[in-house]
Each structure stands twice: as structure tokens, then as C-alpha cells.
Symmetry: C2
Subunit: 332 residues, 2 copies
Amino acid sequence: MASTSQPRSPLAKLATELRKELSSVHALIREHAKSDHVARIQQITDHLLGSGGKRIRPILTLATARLFDHSGVNHLHLAAAVEFIHTATLLHDDVVDQSTQRRGRPTANLLWDNKSSVLVGDFFFARSFQLMVRTDSIRAMDVLADASATISEAEVIQLAATHRVDVDEETYYRIIGGKTASLFSAATKVGALVAGGSEAELNAAGRFGNALGISFQIRDDILDYGGSEILGKNVGDDFRDRKMTLPIIRAFSQGSREEREFWTRVIAQGDQRNGDLEHALGILNRRGILDSIQTDARKWSKTAQNELHNLPGHPIRELLAELSEFAVSRNS
Amino acid sequence: MASTSQPRSPLAKLATELRKELSSVHALIREHAKSDHVARIQQITDHLLGSGGKRIRPILTLATARLFDHSGVNHLHLAAAVEFIHTATLLHDDVVDQSTQRRGRPTANLLWDNKSSVLVGDFFFARSFQLMVRTDSIRAMDVLADASATISEAEVIQLAATHRVDVDEETYYRIIGGKTASLFSAATKVGALVAGGSEAELNAAGRFGNALGISFQIRDDILDYGGSEILGKNVGDDFRDRKMTLPIIRAFSQGSREEREFWTRVIAQGDQRNGDLEHALGILNRRGILDSIQTDARKWSKTAQNELHNLPGHPIRELLAELSEFAVSRNS
């Protein structure tokens, strides 16, 4: 993630602090992603494991367990299970979105086919389930089963909202709450759970993960339109993909009749012409949309940081607070 | 299933014996298939629940638990969970196979789209997981998690074997063992498990389910080429879909050079002409392929019946023996 010449991100610092456990989790993931008989599973697994994801969800599980100085192994299995759920979701997501790139590399559905992505996603989901069973914790399974159902419900809501410019913010929050925040929340909650946190602590851990997930997602949406910074390299991807993210939703709901016609043409109808992205950025800028959304993201980040006060004081807790700040201040 | 004028199938008799519990399972399925916020899930659910599947897997769980005169409610949750896993698999299967019909009705992927089928399949899989958690039985979850992983591995093996005429019988058995028999086996095993069967009994229940599943599947393969009976209405579906089922696998492996060229053309290359199905049936008949396969199916049915002797004597056990016989003697 970070080079030696720039300040290291809180995620990189957490990864360093938790490196021993993270390496056990990687080993568990490699071991369970294996399929001796099925070459295709192995190919897709190697492709995905080689793609260097940030592993933020397993890091959250390990970090939350560490707050309680947990010394068992159950959090390792749960961290791996969380990452398998996430990976299964990505595989199915890329099929549904017909994506061709993820993390700068071709997606599995492009390299192989949609069928393999569907089935290997199912395999990974089953693997997550096997890993959870090994923890012997019905409550952790309960949390992750609920998160899995919430994720897929949110995916269906998102599918129904595709290219619909009149989606409201409540629906947006339901989608990102389900797709992103629910697994962040489950990851932190099960960390506190297996580490023996009190009922109040594990609920606080869950609310921390939820708020962190929302702030990460909103900042992602902003960055795709460049934020208030110099335009990044990938500005406009969501625009070109006609994704109903928060900037568009808010701009449409506040828009003049003319602006609404513009959003309808470029997003709903997908009729995009030269200069449309610049025009869109102009509207967002004129109306202060990105700034108002950034204010919301900061509120969620603040909520996350406040919840941390309900968890044990620990150097790792400071890094989690830094992570919450980083979630809404990062530029990539 | 059965009209009043013909002898009722053992499955219909089991459904009658278990009607009260089965009706609770149906209620559980309806309740958990619901999604208040997501109309698309509700539409697909209504379509699937209205399609009148045989519900053989939940019946097996209920029947096995009944052998031990189980009176709790955990077997109801597990029976519903097993049916959800099965339904999720069907939804994803139809996407992978690009099927347009199931049980004589249009498939969900045809009525809506592949995306909805993928996501609602995920939702059902998550629901199965939530139902299992409610049983508080880590061991039952272990059995069903393993079955889920085995099913998806087998699906990937099958995908890799698509249209490959040189698939061997070992691969065939790995595919049907994973796709069909593993969930039959898990269904019977968890029934014995929650009902308090001994270790020996639950293993016997699992082997019974496995052998029953294999005999059902082989008989399905035979029926698609008409068996030794008058040709059924749907004879040739597998042939037209170029499926590598046991009749083709055995016919190819025993075939003359000329016959192998024929199978390669119609199955591997998909170049099917008028009269090809009749020619295929002629080869199968001349070589006695269907009879030899039927002999294998009978062996599996016999294995299933033998395993029943390791389970408690009970009127339901007689119906399960009848079901094992029916699996390989039915004509539809």
C-alpha cells in the first residue's frame, strides 16, 4: 500500500501490527480456497488471491479481537470467513455488473466466464460457512448469516435501482448499508464476540463497523467525481457506468428541470456525449454537492470514532480512530 | 403427484404420513423466502414456490427424524434449510445451463434475468444458513456446510466436462455424487442427527441418502432415453442439450470408431440432424447400455435398502425402502 517516502496509511499500520495473525489468515484462506479436483477453482482462486485486495474486512476482525487482547484462534477463522463472503460477493457482483476490471486487473468473468464466477462464488460462500463452523460459535454464525442475507437483499435492491435517476437517498443508504456496511459491521462485531466482549461492547463494535463502512463508501462515491482535489486518474468511472451513487442522487433531487433532463439522458438513457462528464462536474461544483456529501461522510466518520470510546482503550483503538479519519480524507 | 385412480407413489405416502410437519416446513419456507423491501425477491419466490417441486429433500429430513420419533422443532428448520440450499442451487444451475424450462414452467432466468437468479439464489443460500443457525446444532451446520461446498465443486467439475464426450464414469459419479447425492445424504444425516441417533445410525442415514440420490439420478438419466419402456414424452431432452449423462458416457467408452465419431459430432460438436436421436437410441439398444446402467441403478437402490437395516424399525422405514425401490422402477 504505502511506499517509504509517504506517510503510511492507518490500514498499512494495522496490517503491520497484526502481521502475524494476518499471515495465519492468509494461510487459512489459501488452504480453504484450494480444490484438489477442480482446476478451474484453483485458477480463479490464484487470480483473486494474486490481486492484492486491501483485506480491510479481515483486518477489522483481527483488530477488534485484539482490543480485548484475544489470544485464541477463532478470530482467525472468522476473519478468513469474512474475506470469503466478501470475495464471493465480488465474483457475483462482477457478473451482475458485467464488469471487466477490478483493482486494475481483468475480472474473473472476463478471463473465464460468468458461469465459473457464479459457481466459484458459491464455492467460496460454502467455504466461509465451513470456516465459521470450525469456531463453534453459533452467535458468530448468526451475525454472519444475517449479514449474508442483508448483502444479497441489498444487491437485489441495487439491481432494481439500476440507471433509475429518481432513486432516493433512503434507498441509497439501504443499498450501501447492505452491500458494504453490513459486512464491515459483522466483521467488527464477531471480532468482539469471539474475544469475549460484553453485550454493550459487541454492539458498539458493530455500530463502529457500520459507520466506518458507510463513510468509506460515501468517500468512494465522492472520489469518483474527483472530490475537491485535483482530478484523479479514474474520475468518471461511475458516471460512464451510469451508477446511481450519492452525488447523482443528490444532484438529481435538487436539480432544475434542465439538469434533471441532463441526468435522465446521461444516466437513465445512457446517451453520453463529449463534454457530458465536464458538464456533470460543473453542476456538482455549482451546487456544492460534493461538499455537502463530504459533510455527511464526516458525520459517519465521527459516529465511528465515537463508538470506539465504548471499546477498551488500546493502541489498536487509536489506529482504528485514524482509519475512520482516513476513510473520509483519503484521495484514492 | 398421484391421482386417485393409480397406486400412490411412496413419496406421496411419505408426504401424507408427514403432512403436519411438512406443512410447518412449507410455512417456514414461505416466511423465510419473504423479503419485505425487495419486490423482485418476492416475485421469484412466488414463482418458485408455485412450481410444485416434489420436496423430496425436506421429506427425507422429516422422515429420518421420524424414525427416531423425534418431537422437537429443529428438524423442521433443517428441512427448510435443505430445501433453500436446493432452490438456490436450481436458480444458479439454470443460469449456468441457460435453461428455459424447469418442471414444465419457464425458469426464473428466462422470466426475469440471469442477474436476479444469481442474487436471489445467494439470498436463498443465506436464508438456509439463518435457518440452520436457529437449530443451535453446530454438527448439523457442519454437515450442511460440507454438502454446500461439495455441491459447488461438483457444479464446476460438470461445467468443465460440458460437451466432453470422453468424460469417464469416475467423473460422472463425482458430479452426481456432489450435485445430487451429497444433499440427499446431508438431508438424511441431519434428520438422524437432530433426532438423537447414534453415531452409527447417523452415518447409516447419510449412506442411505447418498445411495438413494445416486439411484434417483441414474434412473433420471435412463428415463431421458426412454428406458426399456414405451418412450416418454420428454425423451431426448438430455440428448438435445448435449448433456454428458451416463448412457452417453458408457456408449462412448464402449463404442466403435464409427460410433465415437457419431457421439463426437452430435454431443461434442452439437451438429444434430434429423434421425440422430433415433440413431443414438439404436446404438444404446444394440449395446444394451440402458439395461447395464439399470443394473447399476438397482445396485445403488439395494445399497440404500441395506443401509435402512441399520436404522430403527418403524413404519416410515418401510416407506423409505419403498422409495428406494421406486427410485429405480419409476417411469417418470
